[in-house]
Amino acid sequence: MEKVVKILLADDDLEDRYIMQDAFSAINLAHVPFLVEDGEKVLEYLAQMHSDEGILPSLVVLDLNMPRLSGTQTLRELKNIEHYKDIPVIIFSSSLNVIEMHECRQLGALSYMVKPFTYEEYLLSAQHFYDFCLSKHSFPEFNSLINNFK
């Protein structure tokens, strides 16, 4: 039996959530993503899963600029809670910012990605997220990301 994969994505931008869902649907993985609009909802969802003894997501993808609980704040919260601290977190930002990258690395994020500019790239990103959960893909480490930063 194939492993049940859940990916939790948080983004306050409705269009981005829509595009993301569309991308997963296009590669026949429509049920994999669970999309929420901010960090608070991330914590709520995880708490719900935990109490219901449901399936915790294999990956959390966080947008950085979100109202109420931002990406970095959410990351910090997650890494402080015993049950969630081992869930890999990828930061999904609209721009490269080396300072944010340093901060995210320190807080324990797995990697940092810049949001795609084309539909194809979105499809590829969705596939990579899924493959990562099946240990078929690995994301570049922070050090190489920061070194490549120009």
């Binding site: 269009e15 595009i19 609209s94 721009s95 795609p116 500019f117 084309t118 539909y119 120009k150």
Partner: protein, 540 residues
Amino acid sequence: MQEITHISLDTDMDLVLVHKRTMKLGELAGLSLALQTTFATAVSEVARNVIEYGHDASLMLGIMADLKEPDKFLVATIKDHNNNLTDRINGGLVYARKLVDKFSMISTEAGVEIILHFKIPGSQKIISSRIEQWIISFNLEPPVSPYDEIKRKNKQLQELAEKLKESETQYKELTNSLPMIIFSMREDGELLYANSWLEEFTGETLLQLNVNKWANVMTPEDLAARWEQWYHHVAENKPLTQEIRLKNVLTNEYTWHQLSAFPLSDENGKTLYWTGFIVDIHARKVMEQTLKDNRELQEIKVQMEEKVRELKRSNLELEQFAYAASHDLQEPLRKIVFYSDYLYKNYSALIDERGQLYFNNMMGASQRMIQLIHDLLNFSRIYRDNLYLEKTDLNVIAAEAVNDLEIGINAKQAVIEIAHLPVMFIYPIQIRQLFQNLLSNAIKFSDEERIPHIKIYALNGGKEIQLIFEDNGVGFQEKHLDKMFSLFQRLHSREKYEGTGIGLAMCKKIADLHNGTITATSEPGTGARFIVTLPKEVVV
């Protein structure tokens, strides 16, 4: 021997005096009348001979009363300036030789000196206080004759005249040696006296100054004002102090002086004339002015520092604004690019040819905007906060830059020649950006006629290092130099060379960040040479 009195031997009249004084000295010394006469006769004999044959003679009477010696003597010394005297008077002195206890005659180049010693008999105590009294009594001795009186007065007058002459010389020397001008002046401004400094300084004599009324040594505007002030003060009869500028004849320059003058009055209170002095106060004036200038400079410096702080603050705000703005602009732009890409890929078949052309143009414009925002973001990120100087091998930086531009280098078959570069304390990410920008420019602006040849090397210049980027590309006209390093300034059309006009502005900002500079030289058609000068030690 101690001198008691002195008599000049000029005429026969002096013989009377010689006799009287010698008798008197004998009496004071306690000699009997006979002995007094003997001593007086001997001295008078010598004096008579000297007056007759000698020249410019004098007699000195004294006493030799050494406490340790048992014998005391009265001594008469006759000096004469005629050195041929000896033979002529020798015969005439036979008698005198016999009368005294010791007789000596010494002939020198200056003249003749005859000394007579006359022993004081008995064991009288002659102490110095007594001798002092004798001297006083000789000085107070009433004149023996009108001649004696005149002679004495004459002597006193001569002494006074000599003293006066001496004191006047001293006064002149004193006033002339003081580094100031000393003068006396009449109320009408006519100089009566001035020491040598006035002429030395102004080059004008007293007479010249009195004739031209100081016109050559003062500025025309000063001249009228100062004379007006002088007459005003003179009328009030109050001491005057004013600062004036006088022209130095040696340098032909006006220097500041302080003039002080005081009225001198007679016993009735009427002003006779004014005396005063003029001192050079130029150094003080210059110092005062310098101090004033310094104060003003200090104030300006404080103002400047405040302005610099304001500028820095507003610069930082601008940078933060640019960053925030470009960051936020990026988000909707990403959507535009995403949707147009999506539409083009899935629906381009449904649009006609013209529509497809416009669609392509729109996508091209969006791509340019992405590049622009990307560059602008990078540009606005360059400021010192959060940056750390690191010891960096520039050879590594250069290799990385070449590596990043590999595609462009290969496409143009460019030859890159990198000499050995130094290790420096720099901001590595920014310097890598600078290398990359300059290198990519050199490749971009290559001349189609020839293979691009790019040289990178360093020149060691004492406290700084020059990094040179030399190419054989199309070059530029140097009149555009200033423009080239400004934001969004481009020298070529987009059709010919793509670009956002940020690259060189960024290089300048990076050079500034290191307290360095960037400039370039070129001749169109022969290539360009960019010179980045960085201090060996960046002071933050």
